[in-house]
């Protein structure tokens, strides 16, 4: 499973390096970046993500529609260290096999993430940076919601109920023409209410190429359009209920995510379409049909 995923990543990298001796930059849409904000900088990001899952395997007519609006603030304490706070506003709706609709909405689990840039290498025509990230996902979302049919399934609840640790690293290679980012992170999920979500390993690879302007202006800070292509992977261990594995949980999903991005001096507007190219899920789980992400960022 992993060999298949990483083989795909290698193909992705080699194809894009061969296509473009000089190819965009900015910040990827669904992946993190190895750059840190400057000292005293505050960046606000608002995003709308839509995700559609349906019953591809048994065709029982089940489906999930989810809209998540993560509101993110990032502050640069020093030129090398920053803190990010993410508050997701969530709407999830499950259509069951009987046609019943079960839904919940409200704030989800808040994430607090620190980033420290520990490696910088400047070279003729580019720069590469590596940052370490560590943080916590706090149980601010409701994890015990119910409706007329009883408690909502764990996948529909807004929160996990547990304090979960996050650790990872991000690499960025940036030139005036193109940018490559690799974002690896591990989420150590903990138990709450006799249930524990499986640990999650996220692996993202992003490539951006400037498509306009083709020739850079000799003076000033210009605005630009980037074409973005990302591989967004998530590997999740099986969840546990009362100490026993949940058969219909965990697995590996990889999205191939083309996108478009407008970058100016103080703001970024972007759109990404996430299409699942690998879905190797345990047991009988709803599979993702597609996901959409629309966002903007503004720096103060």
């Amino acid at each position: 499973m992993f060999i298949k995923s990483f083989g795909f990543i290698l193909i992705f990298l080699s194809v894009f390096y061969s296509l473009s001796p000089h190819s965009a930059e900015g910040i990827p849409i669904n992946s993190d970046v190895g750059l840190t904000p400057h000292k005293g900088e505050f960046i606000f990001r608002a995003q709308t993500r839509y995700l559609r899952k349906s019953d591809n395997l048994l065709d029982q007519g089940r489906s999930v529609d989810a809209v998540v609006v993560p509101l993110v603030g990032v502050y640069g304490f020093t030129a090398k260290s920053s803190v990010l706070v993410k508050v997701p506003i969530i709407y999830r709706e499950l259509k069951t096999a009987t046609g019943a609709l079960r839904s919940d909405h409200g704030p989800g689990d808040v994430t607090v993430l620190g980033k420290y840039r520990f490696f910088t290498h400047n070279f003729k025509g580019g720069t590469s940076r590596i940052s370490a990230i560590a943080g916590l996902e706090l149980p601010t979302g409701d994890d015990n919601a119910s409706d007329s049919l009883g408690f909502l399934p764990k996948g529909i609840q807004l929160g996990s109920g547990s304090v979960d640790a996050i650790a990872g690293a991000v690499y960025t290679l940036q030139t005036l023409d193109y940018q490559v980012d690799m974002d690896l992170r591990y989420i150590f999920n903990n138990e709450a209410n006799n249930f524990e979500f499986g640990d999650v390993f996220k692996y993202n690879l992003a490539y951006q190429k400037r498509i306009w302007p083709s020739i850079l202006p000799d003076k000033g800070i210009y605005s630009q359009w980037n074409a973005v292509l990302e591989l967004n992977g998530t590997y999740e261990n099986k969840s546990e209920l009362g100490g026993n594995d949940v058969a219909n949980s965990g697995g590996n999903t990889v999205f191939l995510s083309p996108g478009i991005q407008f970058v100016s001096k103080r703001s970024i507007y972007e759109f990404s379409f996430l299409y699942p190219v690998i879905q190797d899920l345990n047991g009988n789980q709803l599979k993702t049909d597609y996901s959409l992400a629309l966002s903007f960022r503004y720096q103060f």
């Binding site: 930059e25 900015g26 904000p37 580019g126 720069t127 001096k265």
Partner: protein
């Protein structure tokens, strides 16, 4: 009436004639500092260096040339900005090093 106009216009012209060389000299005395910033490759990041350089005292204008990774500081006549202050601004913007070159009246210093 004509003589009154003359009385007004002649002194104004004289003052302008007197000020012109001074204004011209002041323009010539402007110092330009070119800062080659290592690792500056994105518009969103370039705003950071512009903002940090604008915190320095004594500049008239800050220009960023992203294509060449150069920031230009036009210093007010009679003012000075130290290399250390510039280097600190560059570091606070998230860039590690800069090469600083000063020119006065178009001549390198």
């Amino acid at each position: 009436m004509k003589s009154k106009v003359k009385i007004f216009v002649v002194p104004v012209l004289l003052v302008l004639l007197f000020l012109f060389p001074l204004l011209s000299f002041a323009e010539k005395a402007t110092q330009k500092i070119s800062i080659k910033v290592e690792g500056l490759y994105c518009p969103f990041c370039a705003y950071g260096i512009e903002k940090q350089l604008k915190k320095l005292k004594g500049f008239k204008k800050v220009e960023i040339n992203l294509k060449h990774g150069v920031a230009e500081l036009h210093v007010k006549p009679g003012m000075s900005i130290t290399d250390q202050a510039i280097q600190q601004a560059v570091e606070d913007a998230g860039f590690d090093s800069a090469t600083i070159e000063r020119t006065q009246n178009g001549d390198k210093q």
